[in-house]
Symmetry: C2
Subunit: 80 residues, 2 copies
C-alpha cells in the first residue's frame, strides 16, 4: 500500500520557517498572506496489504521516528 504522512507543527508552536516564507513572500510583493506554516510530507510504500494493520504500523512509525509528538501532529492518508 501507498501512504502519505503529513506532519505539521502544533498550534501555538512557533514556526520560524513559516515566518521566513511569509516575509519573503511580502518582499516579493505578495500581499495579504498570513499564518504561513511549514510542515513535512512523507510518502512511502508499505508491503503490508491489510489497511487496518498498515495504518497501525504507520502510526507507530510516526510516534517512534517521523514526528515529534510533543511539538508536531501528524495525519496519515492511505492511498490503497
Amino acid at each position: 500500500m501507498k501512504a502519505k504522512i503529513t506532519i505539521t507543527l502544533k498550534n501555538g508552536v512557533l514556526d520560524p520557517q513559516g515566518k521566513a516564507i511569509e516575509g519573503a513572500l511580502a518582499g516579493l510583493g505578495f500581499d495579504g498572506v498570513s499564518e504561513v506554516r511549514q510542515g513535512k510530507v512523507i510518502e512511502l510504500e508499505l508491503s503490508e496489504t491489510n489497511q487496518t494493520v498498515g495504518r497501525a504500523i504507520l502510526e507507530e512509525m510516526c510516534e517512534k521516528l517521523l514526528a515529534n509528538p510533543v511539538m508536531e501532529s501528524y495525519s496519515i492518508e492511505v492511498m490503497g
Copy 2:
C-alpha cells in the same frame, strides 16, 4: 481563503532525506518499507476571496519562491 501547497521532488530526482528515513525505519525494525520520499507542505491564509484569482496567485508564489520548478513539482489545494 486557506490554502495548502504540497511540494515534492520530481520522480528521478535523488532524495537523500527519504533514503535516510528508509534506513532509520529499517533500523527500528520496520520491514517492507520502500520508496520513501520526503516533501514539504506549506499552509497559508490568503486575503483574496476569489478562488480563480487566489489559485493563480498561489501558482505564481510556487514558481517564484516556494518550489524549485527544475527539481520539484507542486500541488495546490484551496480549502475555502
